[in-house]
Structure formats: C-alpha cells, structure tokens
Amino acid sequence: MTVQPAMPKCWRPETKPHKFCPGCGHGLVLKALGEAIDELGIQDRVVFGCDIGCSLLAWDFFNVDSIQTHHGRTTPVMTGVKRANPDLICIAYMGDGGGYAIGSQHLVNAAARNEKITVILALNTVYAMTGGQMAPTTMPDQKAETAPYGRNVEETGYPTQGPEMVAAITREGAYVARGTTANLKQLKSYIKKALQNQMEGRGFSFVEALSACPTNWRTNAEKTWNFVQKEMPKYFKVGEKKVPGAEEKEGQ
C-alpha cells in the first residue's frame, strides 16, 4: 500500500495530478499557498488570479474562485476585484516575466498605491511556457533561448531584484519577502504572513518564490536542485525584506 501525502484541503482533487511538468516548482509554491489558505480558513473568501505563462495552468487548481487573466495583467484584475469588494482575499499569481517585464508597471503602481492584495511570484529565471527565452531574472551567463551564449550583463543588464524593488517603493504596512521552494516551511510562513497582512488591511503584500524549471533549464534532478538551492540564492537572497512594524522596532 502506498501512502499519499495529504493534499491541502483547498486543492481541487478533480484536477489532480496537476498540469505542470515533472519537477516544476509551481506545484510546490501552490502547495505552500494551499496550506496557508487552509490554516487561515479563508477558502470561502479567496479569489485566485493567475497570469499567462505556466501560471495559467493553475486556473482550475484550487477549490476557490479563480480568474485566468492576460500576460502581466493579473495584478490590475485582482486590484479591481479588491477595490470593488474589499471582503475578498485577492491573490495575484504570476511568473517573473509577468511580474517584472510585461506587468512591471502594474506591480510597481499597485505596490506604490499600497493595494490590499497579495502578489505571489514564482521565479524560475526563464519564460517557460514559450520555450525558455531570457527573462528579466535570467542569471548572469545563464543560457536561454534568446541568450544562447549566456546572458551578457553588459548588453542586457543584471537580473531584476523584485522583492528589493517592491520593498524600496512601499511604505509602512507592506509585507515583502523572498522564499524558496527549497524551504517549503519557510515559504509557507511567508505566504501566510502576506495573506494575514491583506486580511488585516495593512497593505500590499508580495512574496517571490525561487522555483525550478528543469524542462527549460535542461537539467536533471540533481542539477535542478543544485541550481535552486545553491546558485539562485547567491544572487536572490532569501528572507523577509519588509515587515510591518519592523521599522518602529528598530528605533526603540
């Protein structure tokens, strides 16, 4: 008899196994999110928005109301829902291309306006759905379909530091963190705090999750895990970047 690990209660069993590739990080991020939703008991109030790119495969992932939007536009759609009905808990789920390239103006302005929504962004350093092109977050010298000789930082700049940027432009009340699928317990605690921040109406909340794309990285399990656990954090530092009330404490 095989024992299956328990699925989060808010997952939709009818749509499992999920649509992501083997080894993909999305399943792990969505597991952390599912457990956070369960523990907070907000399944009846959550609206889950997903972007274009691999994140759209999550449109029927949960037993929660879900909206699949356009590339980069999940942030404004969730903003619109939240502004119209503030009782709902709005989660905008996207990849790094959606958040940091095509939808960056929406992310920046939603953060600046301190929208009471939660953005969860899976970072895998490539445009995965479209076949592995260079993303804003592709690591220096990392190979991608549109950077076949490796990302040349002289020509294309350095990877976007999303949480650092969001932390810099938000004011008191925002929650910003970077977690990783290599530490699910921590990632879940960040997502939970982000959702709590929204529930308490404090302000914008943002969690980036370091995630894997073995399909486009063309890596085996060992190399995939090594990249997520060892390589990515060299550039993308894991931890909380902004916590409501922290600045006041520092002054004491």
């Binding site: 699949q68 536009r73 103006q105 929406h106």
Partner: protein
C-alpha cells in the same frame, strides 16, 4: 446627503462629460476606474466629486491597460463598473476589452473620440469606429452605441449598463470630443421614475459558500487547449450575439421611402445630416436620412432593405471610411451606388452636406 443625485426630472445645461458622470450615477454605477486622457478627463472629474456623496468609488490607475483590467475585476466582483478613454488610450483599452469579450464580461466603456492615428489631436474625430467595434484579437463581440447629442449621452449611458448586464457583452458608448466638451441643454431624470428597470449586477467571484464544499468554484478562463474547444465556445457566443442583435440594434430614419439619395451618418455628424436632409426636402428634393445608433450590432435588415431601394448612399463621416466599411459589409451585393464624403478628424457642417447632395442628385 440625498440618496439619489436626480430626484425629479429637470432641464440642465452641461458639458457631455458631466452628463456621462451624472448618467453613470443615475444608472447605479458603483465604481469607476480611469486614467487621464483628453477629451474624456472631466468624466473622472465630475465622477470623483459626485462619488463620495452617493457611496460610489473611484480608482485612478497607472494606465489604460490597468483601467480596463481593473474594470474587468470590478464587474467580476459583481459591481457595475465602468471606465472612460479616448484615442491612444482606447488602443490600450482593446486588450482588456478583448478579455471581456472572451469571458462575456459586462464592462461599460465611454469613448470620447479624438483625432488619429497616434496622438494626432485632442479635439475631435470619428476615427475610433473600427477600433471600438472590432478592436482586439477577436470578432467584435461587443455593443457600441454612437450618440449624437447630450440627451443621448445621458440616455445611452444609462442604457449601456442595463444592456451590458442583460446580455453580458462589453458595451461602449461612443462619443467624441465635440460632445465631451460642448455645453448643451438636456433633460435629466431618475431612470426608475421613468419605469426603466435596472438589470441587477451579479458576482462572478465571491458568491456565498465555500467552493468545493457548498458550491462549485467559479473557474474563469480565456485560454483553451484545443481548436475545437475554442470553436465550440465561440459558436455559442455568435448565437447569443445574433439573438441579442435583434433586440438591441437601433437606428433613426426618415424620408427614405422615395429617396434617390439617402444620407448615412452616425454620431454627432448625423446632426448636420439631419438638418441637411430636412432642408433639401423643403426644396422638394428626394433625399432621405438614415443613422444607425448601434454601430455594433448594426440594424442590418433595415440597411439591406434601404440599399435595395435607394439609388445612392451618401456616407458622411469624420474618418476615412471606417463607418462606410461597416455599412458596405452589411449591404454587399446591393445595387445602390456608394458616394463617400469623408473628412477624417474634422467636423462636417450642414452646408457641406447640402452641397454634396446637390452635386450627386
């Protein structure tokens, strides 16, 4: 604080943008999402002054993409939501409105046309007809009212919310810079006192109960895995659209029965056309007037019928044939001769139309 902005019918003297804001309040619009662009700005200005007094909301977004997508979010939350735009803003608005078409979302968008292409002028045109009727990567699954005066701006803005929520197609009120900025008399009223019933808004997300426990979750998407799946969904939409078209298409016409020349126009240009036809008729000339109020869907039956009777259609518009293209598509195969009178981005006077008709009679 009064519960209603308009408690009794009265005459007022307003700009078109103010009329739209009043109409939206009267129609029960709950939230506006907007981004500044001339000549629609004052819709937001008046709305933001009225909104807090009548428990309505406003969000100024970072661009028109966001204004459109937040409007999409607003309607999905079950609120009567709207936005307003023009010109290059309308170009950006096509992306969210294409999502509204794909997911049958009852957004309301007011467009005050300005010159094009590109930034062009902030003044006036009828050059946003193609984009407003068939913009986006889709099939024009939308409703577009082209208004001619301030009374219509009021009437059709109210109607737009009802039609959008009844049929669940994104709905547009197509005005222009002249209508936006001009001051004119009209009668405002409380729609309910007039017997206009409000079609209630309904939430797509956030309905009572826990999804998967008490009810099915609302899973809304605009992406499909296979060709056949999309094809089937679209066939259903086309069927609904055709049924809706019969009930929604509107037009005005007079003196067309024995007319040799029928002047076709829409929007503010039809005011000049109407006067021209009336004047020419007084001179005993066989001239008729036809003006679609809905550009999507068009009154196809009436147009086809007319095209089989009249000798010539004089199509008058402040664009290089955008309206004419819509008409020609409907009447394809008819014997009527089409005479164009196009002044892209420029207003057209009664005298000019009279002159043109006399030339071709």
């Amino acid at each position: 604080m009064s519960e209603k902005l308009i408690t009794e019918e009265k005459r007022v003297f307003m700009t078109g943008n103010e009329v739209v804001a009043w109409a939206a309040v009267a129609a029960g619009a709950e939230i506006m999402y907007g981004y500044p662009i001339t000549p629609q700005n004052e819709i937001m200005h008046y709305w933001t002054r009225l909104a807090p007094k009548y428990n309505r909301k406003f969000l100024q977004t970072e661009d028109e993409l966001s204004a459109g997508f937040t409007t999409v979010g607003g309607v999905m939350a079950g609120r009567k939501a709207f936005t307003a735009t023009a010109g290059p803003g309308n170009t950006l608005m096509q992306e969210p409105m294409s999502m509204a078409e794909a997911m049958r979302l009852p957004t309301v968008t007011i467009v005050q046309q300005r010159g094009g292409p590109s930034t062009a002028t902030v003044i006036y045109s009828q050059q946003e007809v193609t984009m407003t009727t068939f913009g986006g990567n889709g099939e024009g699954l939308r409703i577009v009212y082209s208004t001619a005066n301030h009374q219509e701006l009021f009437d059709y803005t109210i109607k737009a919310f009802n039609v959008a929520w009844k049929y669940r197609f994104p709905t547009f009120v197509l005005g222009d810079g002249y209508q936006a900025k001009m001051r004119e008399s009209l009668t405002v009223y409380d729609p309910e006192q007039k017997g206009i019933e409000f079609v209630p808004a309904e939430p797509y997300v956030g309905k009572p109960g826990t999804p998967g426990v008490d009810r099915e979750p609302g899973h809304y998407r605009n992406t499909y895995n296979v060709e056949e799946e999309l094809y089937e969904v679209l066939q259903g939409y086309f069927k609904d659209y055709a049924k809706m078209a019969e009930e929604v298409a509107e037009y005005q016409a007079f003196d067309t029965e024995d007319a040799d020349v029928v002047v076709l126009s829409h929007g503010v240009v039809s005011r000049g056309a109407k006067e021209a036809v009336e004047q020419l008729r007084k001179e005993g000339k066989k001239v008729g007037y036809f003006r679609p109020i809905t550009l999507r869907p068009l009154p196809e039956k009436e147009l086809k019928e007319l095209a089989g009777k009249a000798k010539k259609f004089l199509i008058v518009e402040s664009a290089q044939g955008q309206f004419a293209k819509l008409i020609k598509d409907v009447i394809y195969g008819a014997s009527v001769e089409i005479v164009p009178f196009f002044k892209p981005g420029v207003g057209i006077t009664t005298d000019e139309i009279v002159g043109k008709v006399n030339e071709i009679l």
